[in-house]
C-alpha cells in the first residue's frame, strides 16, 4: 500500500533527527524491558493487591450481567403487550424490575470501576516509586551517556501514560470486553442461533483490527516525532528571537518551522484517513451482524422457536454492542502505548547497580590522592593520560588549563562520577570503590557551573543537602555564610518562598549562591568547585567568589578556575594540558619565569611583561589569602 512506502521514506529522509535520535548503543545503556519481563513485572506489582483485583473482577462481572437484564426486560415487555393478557399488572411489574435493574447497574458500574482503578493505581504508584528510586541512584555517568532527557521522559510522560491508562483505559477496556463477551452469551441464552448470527461480525472486526494496528503504530510514532520536531523548531526560534533577528535569520527560521509544521499537518491527516478507514470497516461489521441477527429473528419467529419479544431483545442486544466494540477496538492503541511505556519503566529497574558496600570504612582525613589516572569517554580518545596528584587535608588547589585539557574530567573522576580506566583514587586514604556511592558523597561534594533550583520552597531546596530534619536556624546560618541570607529573607515568604520552575525566579547569581549554600550544609570535608562562579557577569562573579570562599574555609578544596584571581588565592596551582599536569606550584612560583602559567598571568594582569607580576598581584588583590 502506498501509504506505507510514503511513510517509510518520510522517516528515513528526515535530516533533523540525527542529533536527537539515540543510536542503538545508547539505547542499550538504558534498557527497555522485553514483553516477558514487562509481564512478570506487572504481575509482581499486582500481587500485593490481589484481594482488591479479585473484588474488582467480581464486581465488574456483576455489573455487566445486570446491564444485560435491560434489553431482556424490554423484550419481555414487547411479549407482554403482544400477548395482551393481564397487561397492566405485567407492564407495571416489568417496569419496576427495569427501574431496579437501572439503579443496581448504575451502582455496580460505578463501584466496580472504582475498584479496578484503585487496584491499578496502587500498583502504578508502587511502580513509579520504584522506578524513581532506581533512576536517582543510577551511576551519573551512565545516565548522562544515555541522555538525561530519556530518563526524565520515562519518569514523567511514561509514568503519566501508564497511570492514565490505568484509570481511564483499563476499566473501560475490561468492562467493554466483559460486555461483549457476556452479550454474546446472552444472545445464546435467547437462542444459540442468535449468537452464531452475531459472531458473523467477528472475522470482519478481527481483520479490521489487524489491518489497523499494523499501520497505526508507525504512523502515530511518526506523527509524534514530527510534533516533537515542530515543537523543537518553534521553541528554538521563539526562545531566541533576539538572536534570530540580530543575525537576520527570520526568513530561514520561518521556512524551517513551516516545513516542520506542514509535516505535522500531513501526518495528522494521514492518521485521520487511517482512522476513517478503520471505522468504515467496523461499520460494515455492525451492518453484517445486525442484519444477521434480524434475519435469524425472522426465521426463528417464523417457526415459532422464539417470540417477537426475544427477536426484539436480540436486535437490541446487538445494537447495544456498537459502542463497546468501538471502544474496545479504539482502546487497543492506548493499551499498546501504555504497554510500551510500561516496558520503558520496567527497563529502568533492570539497570544493574553497583552494590553498595555493607560497612564502608571511614576516610582517615580530608586528603585526596590519585595515582596514574587514565580516563577516556567512549570514543576512545584519552582525556586523562596518567595524572597523579596528592592533596593535603585543608589544602586549596586551583586547576587551570585550556578547554579540553581535562580539568573537568579530572575532578569528575576524583568525585566518583566517572571510573578511571587505570589508576586509583584515595579519599582520606580509602580507595574510592570501597567507599561506595553513599560513602563517596559523604566524603567529597561538588558544585558545577550547572545550576538547578529545585521546585519547592527555599527551605525544601536546602534540606536536600541538610537532610529533612535540619532546623531553620541551620539553614539560615548556611545562607548567612554564603551571603545569601539577606536576599532570602527579603523574598515574599522568606525561607518558605516557592522557587524553581513556575514559581519565584532567582537570578543566576542567586541560584548559584543557593547551590553554594547547599554545599555548606553537606558533611563532606572535600569540596570541588568546577567553574562554579563563571557565568555571572563580572559584578556577580565577585559576590560568588566571596560565597565560594566561605564554602572552602576549613575544607580541602579543588577549584577549576576561569578567573585567574581564583588561582592566585589558592595554595597550589595545577596547570593541565592535553590530559596531563604540565606545571604545578604556588602562584608566586609559577607567575614568574617563562612557563605556561607565567605567560597567562602576564596577559591577564597587564600587557607589559616587563613589570613584575608579583607587584601587581599585591595591589590588585585585596584580602586574598595568598601564602
Amino acid at each position: 500500500m502506498s501509504l506505507d512506502t510514503d511513510l517509510n521514506t518520510d522517516l528515513k529522509a528526515d535530516p533533523d533527527t540525527g542529533a536527537r535520535r539515540p543510536d542503538e548503543s545508547l539505547e542499550a545503556l538504558m534498557p527497555v524491558a522485553t514483553t516477558a519481563q514487562t509481564r512478570r513485572a506487572a504481575m509482581a506489582l499486582l500481587r500485593p493487591h490481589r484481594g482488591l483485583v479479585a473484588l474488582a473482577a467480581a464486581l465488574l462481572t456483576a455489573a455487566t450481567l445486570t446491564g444485560l437484564a435491560t434489553p431482556m426486560l424490554l423484550g419481555h415487555l414487547v411479549d407482554v403487550v403482544i400477548e395482551g393478557e393481564d397487561v397492566t399488572r405485567l407492564i407495571t411489574l416489568t417496569g419496576v424490575a427495569l427501574a431496579g435493574v437501572a439503579a443496581l447497574s448504575a451502582v455496580l458500574n460505578a463501584v466496580s470501576h472504582y475498584y479496578v482503578i484503585r487496584a491499578g493505581e496502587q500498583a502504578a504508584a508502587g511502580l513509579r516509586e520504584e522506578v524513581m528510586e532506581h533512576a536517582l541512584n543510577l551511576p551519573l555517568a551512565q545516565v548522562e551517556r544515555a541522555g538525561r532527557g530519556d530518563l526524565v521522559s520515562r519518569v514523567t510522560s511514561d509514568v503519566r501514560v501508564v497511570t492514565s491508562a490505568t484509570s481511564e483505559v483499563l476499566p473501560k477496556f475490561v468492562s467493554a470486553l466483559l460486555t461483549v463477551g457476556l452479550t454474546i452469551v446472552g444472545l445464546g441464552v435467547l437462542d444459540w442461533r442468535f449468537a452464531v448470527a452475531a459472531l458473523l461480525a467477528v472475522p470482519i472486526q478481527a481483520r479490521a483490527l489487524v489491518w489497523y494496528l499494523r499501520r497505526s503504530k508507525p504512523i502515530y510514532a511518526a506523527e509524534r516525532a514530527a510534533e516533537g520536531q515542530m515543537a523543537g523548531r518553534v521553541l528554538d526560534s521563539v526562545g531566541a528571537a533576539d538572536t534570530v533577528t540580530a543575525l537576520r535569520l527570520g526568513p530561514a527560521h520561518l521556512r524551517a518551522a513551516e516545513d516542520k509544521s506542514n509535516a505535522v499537518v500531513s501526518l495528522s491527516l494521514r492518521t485521520v484517513v487511517l482512522i476513517t478507514r478503520f471505522y468504515g470497516r467496523l461499520n460494515l461489521a455492525e451492518l453484517v451482524g445486525l442484519s444477521a441477527v434480524l434475519v435469524a429473528g425472522f426465521f426463528l419467529v417464523s417457526d415459532k422457536s422464539v417470540t417477537v419479544g426475544a427477536a426484539t431483545a436480540a436486535a437490541l442486544f446487538f445494537h447495544r454492542l456498537f459502542s463497546p466494540i468501538g471502544q474496545l477496538l479504539g482502546l487497543f492503541d492506548d493499551l499498546q502505548e501504555a504497554g510500551a511505556g510500561l516496558a520503558r519503566l520496567v527497563g529502568v529497574t533492570l539497570v544493574e547497580r553497583r552494590p553498595e558496600p555493607a560497612d564502608p570504612p571511614a576516610p582517615r582525613d580530608a586528603s585526596v590522592a590519585a595515582d596514574g589516572l587514565v580516563f577516556g569517554y567512549r570514543d576512545g580518545r584519552d582525556v586523562l593520560s596518567g595524572v597523579s596528584l596528592a592533596i593535603e587535608p585543608g589544602e586549596r588547589v586551583a586547576v587551570v588549563g585550556t578547554t579540553g585539557a581535562g580539568k573537568s574530567s579530572l575532578v569528575r573522576v576524583l568525585a566518583g562520577v566517572h571510573e578511571p580506566r587505570h589508576g586509583s583514587v584515595l579519599l582520606g586514604g580509602v580507595p574510592r570503590a570501597e567507599l561506595g556511592m553513599y560513602g563517596t558523597s559523604r566524603a567529597i561534594a561538588m558544585v558545577t557551573q550547572e545550576v538547578h533550583v529545585f521546585a519547592g520552597t527555599v527551605a525544601d531546596d536546602l534540606r536536600l543537602a541538610a537532610g529533612p530534619d535540619a532546623g531553620d536556624g541551620e539553614l539560615l546560618a548556611a545562607l548567612e555564610a554564603v551571603g545569601a541570607r539577606s536576599w532570602v529573607e527579603a523574598l515574599p515568604d522568606g525561607l518558605r518562598t516557592r522557587v524553581g520552575e513556575g514559581a519565584w525566579s532567582l537570578t543566576a547569581t542567586q541560584a548559584q549562591q543557593l547551590a553554594l549554600a547547599r554545599l555548606m550544609l553537606v558533611p563532606a570535608q572535600i569540596v570541588v568547585l568546577d567553574e562554579a562562579t563563571a557565568e555571572a557577569g563580572s559584578s556577580g562573579a565577585l559576590a560568588l567568589e566571596a560565597s565560594a570562599e566561605a564554602v572552602m574555609r576549613g575544607r580541602t578544596a579543588i577549584v577549576v578556575a576561569h578567573r585567574l584571581q581564583q588561582a592566585a588565592r589558592a595554595d597550589r596551582v595545577i596547570v593541565m594540558s592535553e590530559g596531563r599536569i604540565v606545571e604545578q606550584g604556588t602562584h608566586d612560583d609559577l607567575a614568574v619565569g617563562t612557563g605556561v602559567y607565567a605567560r597567562l598571568w602576564a596577559a591577564w594582569s597587564d600587557t607589559r611583561p616587563a613589570q613584575a607580576p608579583t607587584d601587581q598581584r599585591g595591589s590588585a588583590i585585596s584580602g586574598g589569602n595568598v601564602k
Binding site: 526562545g239 445486525l290 442484519s291 578547554t403 567553574e531 557565568e535 559584578s539
Partner: protein, 577 residues
C-alpha cells in the same frame, strides 16, 4: 496532496480581533467551503445514527412480526443503504474537518511565528514558553473550533431528526421525550458542578508527583554532587503517595457522579418504556415503534449533552483567539524607517544617548577600529548592545551609523550593517556549519566558516564532533557545552563579516589561555572593519586599540588598556579585582 500555506498569506489582516483570528483560521484559503462540507457530512451521519433504532423497529414490525420475506429483504436493503450513507458521510466529514483544523492551526501558527520573529521586536517581550504555547496549543485551540462548530451543528441536527421521528411515531411519547430530556440533563449538570470542582482540585494534586520527578531528574547532576539522592527519593515517595490519595479521592467523587447520572437517565428511559408499553397495549403504537422510541430516548442523551457544550467550546477557542490576537497586535520595540542605509567605512557614534541605565553616553567607534567598552554592570552592557542593533531606540540623543540615525532606518536594514548578537550564545538545531554560516554549503562559505571558527578557537569543537562541520547540533545547541556554544556563537558573529560588529562579553565561559588566543585572532580577522568589544575581560581589552569606560553618567575614562591600568585605579579595580 497538501498545498502548503505560505507564511505571508497566513497572516490575517490587521488590526486583529479574536473574531477575525477565528474566521481566518476556519475560512481562509478555501477552508470555509470544506468546513461547510464537514458540517453537512457530520449532520447526515448523526441523522443516520438516529435512524438505526428506528430501522430496527421497522424490521421487527414489518418483517419479523408478520413473516413477510419480501419486506425483510426490502428493509434490509434500506438498512444497508442507511449504513452506507452513515459510513460515507462520516468518512467525508471527518477528513474535511481534519483538513480545516490542521491547516487552520498551521496558518495561525505561522502568523504567530511571523510576528514573534519580526525585526521590530516586541516592547514587552513575552516569555518564550508563553510564545511557544500560543504558537502550538493556542493555534490548535483556535482551529479546534472547527470541531466544535461541525459536531455541534450535527448534534443539533441529530436532536431534530430524533424529535421528528419521535413525534411522527407518537405525539404524546415524542413530547414526553422531548420535554423530559432537557430537565434530566439539567439535573445532571446541577449534580456535576460541585463534583467537577473537587475533581479538578484532586487532579492538580495528582499531577504534582510527575512534576517533582521531572524536576529532580533535571537536577540529577546537582543532586549527585551533594549526595542528596536518598533525600530526593524519599521526597518523591511522599509526593507519589499524596498523588495516589488525591487520584483515589477524585475517582470516588467521579463514581458518585456516575451513580447519580446513570440512575437519573436510566429511570427516565424506564418511564418512557413503561408508558410506551401501555400505549402499545392500547393499540396506539406498534411494538416496533416502542423499540424505536426506547432507542431514540437513549440516543438523544449524547447529542443533547454535545449541544450543551457548544458555549464551552466557543469560549475556549475565543480565549485562544484572544491570546493570538493580543500577540499579533503587540507593540513593536522599535518602529520602522525609510532612509537608505548609508555607505561608509562603518563609523558608529553615540551622541548624548540616554537609554535605560545609560545616561549621557557619547562615544565613537572609528572605521576599522577595535574599541573596547567597559561598563559598570551587565545591564548597561546589554543596553548598549541593544542600541547598536536597534533593538531599542534611545530616549534622548542618537545612535548614528556613518552619520545616519539608526532610528531613521529599518531595523532589518540596520542589522545588515551592524551585527550585535545578544550575550546569550544560543545555537539552533542543524549542522555546525549551518550554525556558523546559515544556509551555507561547503566551498567558499565553508572557508568563511572555518576562518571564523579558527579565530573563535572553535575549530577544535568541529574536530571533536563526528562529522566535523557537518555534525548535527541539538536544539538550542544543548548537545555542546557552555564554552563550546559560546565559541561557536562567536564564530557565527565573526562569519557575518559585518561592517560593524558589536560583541557583548563573548568569552565568559572560555578559560584564560584560550581567551588570550581569541583576542589576538579576532583582532586579526576584523582588521579594517569596525568592532566594539563590550567586556570586562583583561585579555580582550588588552587587544583593543582603545578602551572607553562608561560610568553612571556617560563615558568616564578613555585610553589604551595599559594606560588605563596604570593611571586609573578604579579601572584596575574593575577589570582585575
Amino acid at each position: 496532496m497538501i498545498v502548503p500555506t505560505s507564511a505571508t498569506s497566513a497572516s490575517p489582516p490587521k488590526p486583529h480581533t479574536p473574531g477575525q483570528v477565528l474566521k481566518h483560521a476556519l475560512t481562509a484559503s478555501g477552508r470555509g467551503r470544506r468546513l461547510f462540507g464537514a458540517s453537512a457530512g457530520l449532520t447526515s451521519h448523526q441523522v443516520a445514527e438516529a435512524l438505526v433504532p428506528v430501522m430496527i423497529g421497522v424490521v421487527i414490525d414489518q418483517a419479523v412480526a408478520t413473516g413477510d420475506t419480501g419486506a425483510l429483504v426490502r428493509w434490509l436493503v434500506v438498512l444497508a443503504l442507511l449504513f452506507t450513507g452513515l459510513l460515507l458521510s462520516w468518512r467525508f466529514a471527518a477528513r474535511a474537518s481534519a483538513v480545516v483544523e490542521q491547516r487552520g492551526a498551521h496558518a495561525v501558527r505561522m502568523s504567530v511565528l511571523n510576528r514573534a520573529l519580526s525585526p521590530r521586536g516586541m516592547r514587552t517581550a513575552p516569555m518564550p514558553g508563553e510564545l511557544f504555547s500560543v504558537a502550538t496549543s493556542d493555534a490548535l485551540g483556535v482551529a479546534g473550533f472547527t470541531r466544535t462548530l461541525s459536531t455541534k451543528l450535527a448534534a443539533a441536527a441529530g436532536v431534530i431528526a430524533a424529535a421528528v421521528s419521535l413525534l411522527m411515531i407518537s405525539l404524546p411519547l415524542g413530547l414526553l421525550v422531548l420535554l423530559g430530556t432537557p430537565p434530566v440533563l439539567l439535573l445532571m449538570q446541577v449534580v456535576a458542578k460541585p463534583l467537577e470542582r473537587r475533581t479538578v482540585h484532586n487532579q492538580a494534586l495528582a499531577a504534582r508527583a510527575g512534576a517533582i520527578a521531572g524536576d529532580m531528574l533535571s537536577g540529577l547532576r546537582v543532586l549527585g554532587g551533594i549526595g542528596a539522592q536518598g533525600v530526593a527519593a524519599r521526597r518523591y515517595r511522599e509526593a507519589s503517595r499524596e498523588s495516589l490519595a488525591a487520584t483515589l479521592r477524585a475517582e470516588r467523587t467521579q463514581a458518585w457522579y456516575t451513580v447519580a447520572a446513570d440512575s437519573v437517565t436510566g429511570a427516565f428511559v424506564v418511564l418512557v418504556a413503561v408508558l410506551g408499553a401501555f400505549m402499545v397495549a392500547d393499540g396506539a403504537v406498534t411494538p416496533g415503534e416502542l423499540v424505536a422510541v426506547v432507542g431514540l430516548a437513549q440516543y438523544l442523551r449524547g447529542p443533547l449533552i454535545d449541544v450543551a457544550y457548544f458555549g464551552a467550546g466557543l469560549a475556549a477557542s475565543r480565549a485562544s483567539a484572544r491570546r493570538v490576537a493580543d500577540l499579533l497586535n503587540a507593540e513593536g520595540a522599535v518602529g520602522t524607517g525609510a532612509s537608505e542605509v548609508p555607505s561608509g567605512g562603518g563609523e558608529l557614534r553615540l551622541d548624548g544617548v540616554d537609554a535605560g541605565p545609560l545616561r549621557g553616553v557619547s562615544l565613537t567607534a572609528r572605521p576599522g577600529e577595535l574599541l573596547g567598552v567597559v561598563t559598570l554592570d551587565a545591564v548597561q552592557a546589554r543596553a548598549l548592545s541593544d542600541l547598536c542593533a536597534r533593538r531599542t531606540d534611545p530616549e534622548a540623543g542618537a545612535v548614528l551609523l556613518d552619520g545616519v540615525a539608526l532610528s531613521d532606518l529599518d531595523p532589518d536594514a540596520v542589522r545588515r550593517a551592524v551585527v550585535a548578537p545578544p550575550h546569550d550564545p544560543v545555537l539552533f538545531a542543524g549542522t555546525l556549519l549551518d550554525n556558523v554560516v546559515p544556509g551555507a554549503e561547503e566551498g567558499e562559505a565553508g572557508d568563511t566558516a572555518l576562518a571564523a571558527l579558527r579565530a573563535a578557537c572553535a575549530d577544535e569543537v568541529a574536530d571533536g564532533l563526528p562529522g566535523g562541520l557537518r555534525a548535527m547540533v541539538a536544539e538550542r545547541g544543548l548537545s555542546l557545552s557552555g564554552g563550546q556554544r559560546q565559541r561557536v556563537a562567536l564564530a557565527r558573529a565573526l562569519a557575518t563579516r559585518a561592517r560593524v560588529l558589536v560583541l557583548h562579553d563573548p568569552t565568559t565561559s572560555v578559560d584564560p589561555v584560550t581567551e588570550a588566543r581569541i583576542a589576538d585572532d579576532v583582532r586579526g580577522l576584523r582588521s579594517g572593519a569596525t568592532t566594539l568589544l563590550i567586556t570586562g575581560s583583561p585579555s580582550l581589552l588588552a587587544a583593543c586599540d582603545r578602551v572607553v569606560v562608561i560610568g553612571e553618567y556617560g563615558v568616564s575614562h578613555e585610553g589604551t588598556h595599559a594606560a588605563l591600568l596604570s593611571e586609573v585605579p578604579a579601572y584596575r579595580e574593575a577589570v582585575l579585582a
